[in-house]
């Protein structure tokens, strides 16, 4: 599956099936600090992602 990351913006390939919690953890991210979006909808942490999914991991922490 294609995973879009921010700061810096880049795409990485991951192999499914993969649970959202595992994806977030494998990238060294805190689940409190991101949203996971498949296509254009949010997914919960227990969801399983597959090879043909397009996923965005969007940071939600603002510094202002």
């Amino acid at each position: 599956m294609q995973v879009r990351l921010h700061n810096p913006k880049r795409d990485v390939e991951m192999t499914g099936p993969l649970r959202v919690t595992e994806l977030v953890r494998s990238l060294g991210l805190n689940r409190e600090s991101v949203l996971v979006i498949r296509g254009d909808s949010l997914v919960t942490h227990d969801e399983t992602l597959h090879d043909d999914d397009v996923v965005e991991i969007r940071p939600v922490i603002s510094g202002g």
């Binding site: 921010h6 700061n7 805190n30 689940r31 409190e32 600090s33 991101v34 949203l35 979006i37 909808s41 949010l42 997914v43 919960t44 942490h45 227990d46 969007r58 940071p59 939600v60 922490i61 603002s62 510094g63 202002g64």
Partner: protein
């Protein structure tokens, strides 16, 4: 996971509420959190005119959307900071939201109106950009609310912002700052009432609210924020939150209930010290207010 209120498939889980929600129930939940914050802190009434500080980011656009949904008469004000592409882009997001929702957005541009940009002001004062930026925002947003005849100025500070500020204030025992860290600051001569209706929503929730309601916001952060203290405090708090869901909310919301009443006297003492700025007439505890001092420093440093 299933939506707690209705049993449909959920799109977001909120560990601290031990609940997951579908899109519709999540929207209702967020609006209810804001309604509760407004009523329990008596922030404002439906007949009042509200000015919302809009940055083009998730918090301010979610706030504007929710206030309108709750039936408030809310206009927006966008403050141009002169931070390169970030400012141009964020203004586009703010204007697009206003026009697509048929709302009024005022624009105040610091470079146009005051002749400097935030990065320049930071260099001139040899302080971090966020400090020049923060004091400019406080001054100019207050002025925009007063000049526009609004009853109240609403800002998009969320639970994570307030918990991080509280953490910083406690680490250094800034008692004066603690006494003033309130969800409502009452109007006073020269000050519009200021309210923070998002104090019961975490920033993951404000971002999710935007995604679920198709609110297009600027995801990229202000380039000046990188590595600032506020972000480090949020990281620390989130590391704790991941292990003990709810610690952030308890830390901040209990501060409001248990600690602020104890600090009432300190807040009153602080208020008694406030006079007026000899340049612009704004309330200030110094002879010349922080904003006028900043404007002056930028002018002398660019004259050199």
């Amino acid at each position: 996971m299933k939506c707690k209120p209705c049993g449909q498939p959920a799109v977001i889980d909120i560990p601290r509420h031990r609940a997951a929600f579908c899109a519709g129930c999540f929207t209702t939940h967020c609006q209810e959190q804001v309604r509760r914050a407004i009523s329990s802190h008596r922030m404002m009434g439906h007949s009042e005119r509200v000015l919302v500080a809009i940055s083009g980011g998730k918090d301010s656009l979610a706030l504007w959307h929710i206030l309108v949904a709750l039936g408030y008469k809310a206009d927006g004000v966008y403050l141009g900071l002169g931070i390169g592409d970030y400012s141009d882009l964020s203004r586009d997001y703010a204007e697009r939201f206003a026009s697509s929702h048929d709302l009024t957005l005022h624009v105040v541009d610091i470079p146009t109106d005051h002749g400097f940009a935030i990065p320049e002001a930071a260099r001139a004062t040899k302080r971090v950009p966020c400090s020049a930026c923060g004091l400019s925002k406080r001054h100019l947003l207050n002025r925009a609310a007063l000049d526009g005849g609004y009853d109240v100025l609403a800002t998009g500070h969320n639970l994570d912002d307030e918990a991080a500020v509280l953490f910083g204030n406690v680490l250094q025992w800034q008692v004066g700052y603690l006494a003033r860290q309130r969800p409502v600051l009452a109007a006073a001569p020269g000050f519009a009432r200021r309210v923070k209706p998002l104090i019961r929503m975490g920033e993951r929730e404000t971002a999710a609210y935007c995604v679920v309601n198709r609110i297009d916001y600027l995801v990229d952060e202000c380039p000046m924020a990188a590595g600032n203290k506020h972000l480090r405090y949020k990281e620390t708090l989130n590391a704790m939150e991941e292990r003990s869901p709810g610690v952030k909310a308890t830390f901040y919301l209990k501060f409001l209930d248990e600690m602020l009443p104890v600090l009432d006297d300190v807040a009153a003492e602080e208020r008694a010290l406030v006079g007026v700025c000899s340049r612009c007439g704004s309330p200030s505890s110094a002879q010349v207010c922080a904003f006028c001092t900043l404007v002056e420093r930028v002018a002398t440093s660019s004259a050199r």
